[in-house]
């Protein structure tokens, strides 16, 4: 049975705690984007995706997800663990030597739930398209989801892939752009203004949907269910997910400062105090 909104909310708070504790423990990693996408990934894995028990690399007969902006690995790992792909206790090994939870996700160490390495930006959409085209060849009606940073769209390979997906009618694909407007060196407008991302995707003949409240579970559910209904109609579907980087921790919001910085002890205490444990810490 699918979890209700309250259960998704509780899990979101627990995943936030995981993210904060993981990056604090190794004094490295990327909490800002992770916190901004927590509601989305929790909802995607717990409610939206058709998933099979266990993990099979081929993913035949189930929906697939590819994380293109691999630096938000803390949220990815936490959601995977809490969706049953590997023990939650393994989150304590994040970024440590000999861990399967590398700084950026990899298949190299056979971590269940991960189907491609990512970290070097701009490659995930192409991979998602390939997986979606394999599903068509296999007569597999399930969907492929991808997630990308907005700053990541500055990588040229994305635009090769965006052009291809509509030309080849890859309509079993839902690509979500995490539209937080921030990247390492500042706002996306300061670093390299991209104008209207919506207009760009539409010009490339994608079906584009906006989720204005990308940190609101009800809004995510409504928007993503709308997106699912739009698949299979000849166009790839793009979600512009408006999120707040660092969401749920007051001092991490409204700034790009926490893109790739871990909290100190006092900051962690404050952040955890704002997100009281709902399930159980790893």
């Amino acid at each position: 049975m699918k979890p209700n909104t309250q259960q998704l909310q509780d899990l979101t708070i627990q995943v936030r705690r995981d993210i904060l504790r993981m990056v604090h423990a190794v004094n490295s990693g990327h909490p800002g984007g992770s916190l901004g996408c927590t509601e989305f990934l929790v909802t995607l894995y717990q409610n939206l995706m058709t998933r099979k028990e266990g993990f099979n690399m081929d993913g035949i007969g189930e929906d697939l997800f590819f994380l293109s902006n691999g630096h938000i690995s803390p949220v990815f790992y936490s959601v995977l663990a809490r969706s049953g792909y590997f023990p939650v206790s393994e989150l304590a090994t994040f970024r440590l030597i000999n861990s399967r939870l590398q700084g950026h996700p990899t298949t190299h160490d056979h971590l269940p739930g991960v189907r491609i390495a990512s970290g070097s930006l701009g490659q995930g959409l192409s991979v998602g398209i390939g997986a979606a085209q394999a599903k068509k060849l296999n007569n597999d009606k399930n969907l492929v989801y991808t997630l990308h940073g907005d700053g990541e769209l500055q990588e040229g390979q994305n635009w090769e892939a965006i052009m291809y997906a509509s030309a080849k009618k890859v309509d079993n694909l839902i690509a979500t752009i995490d539209l937080n407007g921030k990247q390492i060196d500042g706002t996306t407008d300061e670093v390299l203004a991209m104008g209207s991302i919506k207009a760009k995707f539409e010009a490339f003949d994608w079906d584009v949907l906006e989720i204005k409240e990308g940190n609101n579970i009800e809004a995510i559910l409504a928007g993503m269910n709308d997106a699912k209904a739009r698949t299979g109609k000849g166009k790839p579907v793009c979600i512009l997910l408006h999120t707040e980087m660092g969401n749920g921790v007051d001092f991490m919001m409204h700034t790009h400062a926490w893109h790739g910085k871990a909290p100190n002890n006092d900051q962690l205490a404050s952040a955890l105090d704002q997100n009281k444990s709902t399930l159980a810490d790893y």
């Binding site: 081929d58 491609i116 490659q123 085209q133 892939a161 030309a167």
Partner: protein
């Protein structure tokens, strides 16, 4: 020495095309991807016979490599095809992260490698691709010598699990390997036995090595000729066994002297049996426009260069 006959010159890329045609019929999992070079890569038959399994990507090689990686996730065996330069240097990071590090079963197939691409010049004549590909952990690197061997290698790659780079060329060259010669990845082929010097050649230089060995025989020098089609994993055993007998070695390849077959052989020898070695390769430069024959002559990648290298290395024994 054992003689080899040219049974009719053909381009190695047509061997690839013939291999793909056969794979299309034999293996439902095989899919082909091309970046706007169907004719050059000899994909015409595969595309005609299996349109649903043929992916025209357009002039977007990075996207092609990523899509190929994704197709493996649905259990497909993708063969990508474009020129060697655009198959490797242009998309190194895509291959590194989405294919090699991710351990995806993608076959990167590259035509027009080396100088023999000819008149298009250095922008298209990559001489660094073997080095780029062999440095990637998990990548198998193959450079075939003629039509028959290229076809056999293409078929063998469909049975091999893991990322691989298959390098072949544009020009029409002698076809001399037996059509029924088994292709075993990582296993060198001893073409001709000899006692005075070992010649290890790959790609288009294998035929030149055979001509050189005949010229050397006329001079009373007995050359052992080894066809190294797989540069990684290298057949260390075959090389060491041969130099134990001959005591010196010449490597020959249509590639930069840095990072190619010769350096891989040097490493094996340094670790196991330090042996005098001479290199027939491009001396750390780019190519240029010209006919393939003119270029192979100018850059000293022919049978005469091999003979000269043999005479030099034998004095160092």
């Amino acid at each position: 020495m054992k003689k080899y006959t040219n049974t009719g010159s053909k381009d190695t890329r047509s061997g690839f095309g013939a291999g793909m045609t056969e794979l299309g019929q034999k293996n439902e999992k095989v899919v082909a991807l091309c970046a706007d070079l169907i004719g050059s890569l000899k994909f015409d038959d595969f595309k005609k016979n299996h349109p649903e399994r043929f992916f025209q990507i357009g002039i977007a090689e990075a996207n092609m490599i990523g899509i190929a990686a994704g197709l493996t996730i649905g259990g497909k065996i993708p063969f990508t095809g474009t020129f060697a330069n655009f198959s490797t240097g242009r998309v190194y990071d895509q291959i590194r992260q989405s294919v090699a590090y991710s351990e995806k079963n993608v076959k990167i197939c590259a035509s027009h490698a080396g100088l023999t691409l000819g008149e298009d010049g250095a922008t298209h004549q990559i001489l660094e691709d073997i080095g780029l590909m062999k440095m990637l952990p998990s990548m198998t690197v193959i450079n075939t010598c003629d039509y028959n061997q290229t076809k056999a290698a293409t078929l063998a790659l469909a049975e091999h699990v893991g990322p691989a780079y298959l390098r072949f060329g544009r020009p029409v060259v002698p076809n001399f390997m037996p059509a029924d010669e088994p292709f075993v990845i990582g296993k060198a082929i001893l073409l001709s036995e000899g006692t005075d010097v070992t010649i290890v050649a790959t790609g288009h230089l294998v035929w030149e090595a055979l001509i050189a060995a005949e010229a050397l025989e006329a001079k009373g020098i007995s050359a052992e000729v080894i066809n190294i089609h797989t540069i990684k994993p290298l057949d260390d055993e075959a090389i060491l066994k041969s130099v134990a007998k001959t005591g010196c070695i010449v490597t020959a390849e249509e590639h930069n002297i840095l990072g190619g077959l010769g350096e891989s052989v040097s490493r094996v020898l340094a670790l196991n049996n330090p042996t005098p070695q001479e290199f027939v390769a491009v001396n750390d430069s780019f190519g240029e426009s010209g006919t393939p024959a003119q270029l192979m002559d100018k850059y000293k990648l022919n049978n005469q260069a091999i003979v000269d290298a043999v005479e030099k290395v034998m004095k160092r024994k």
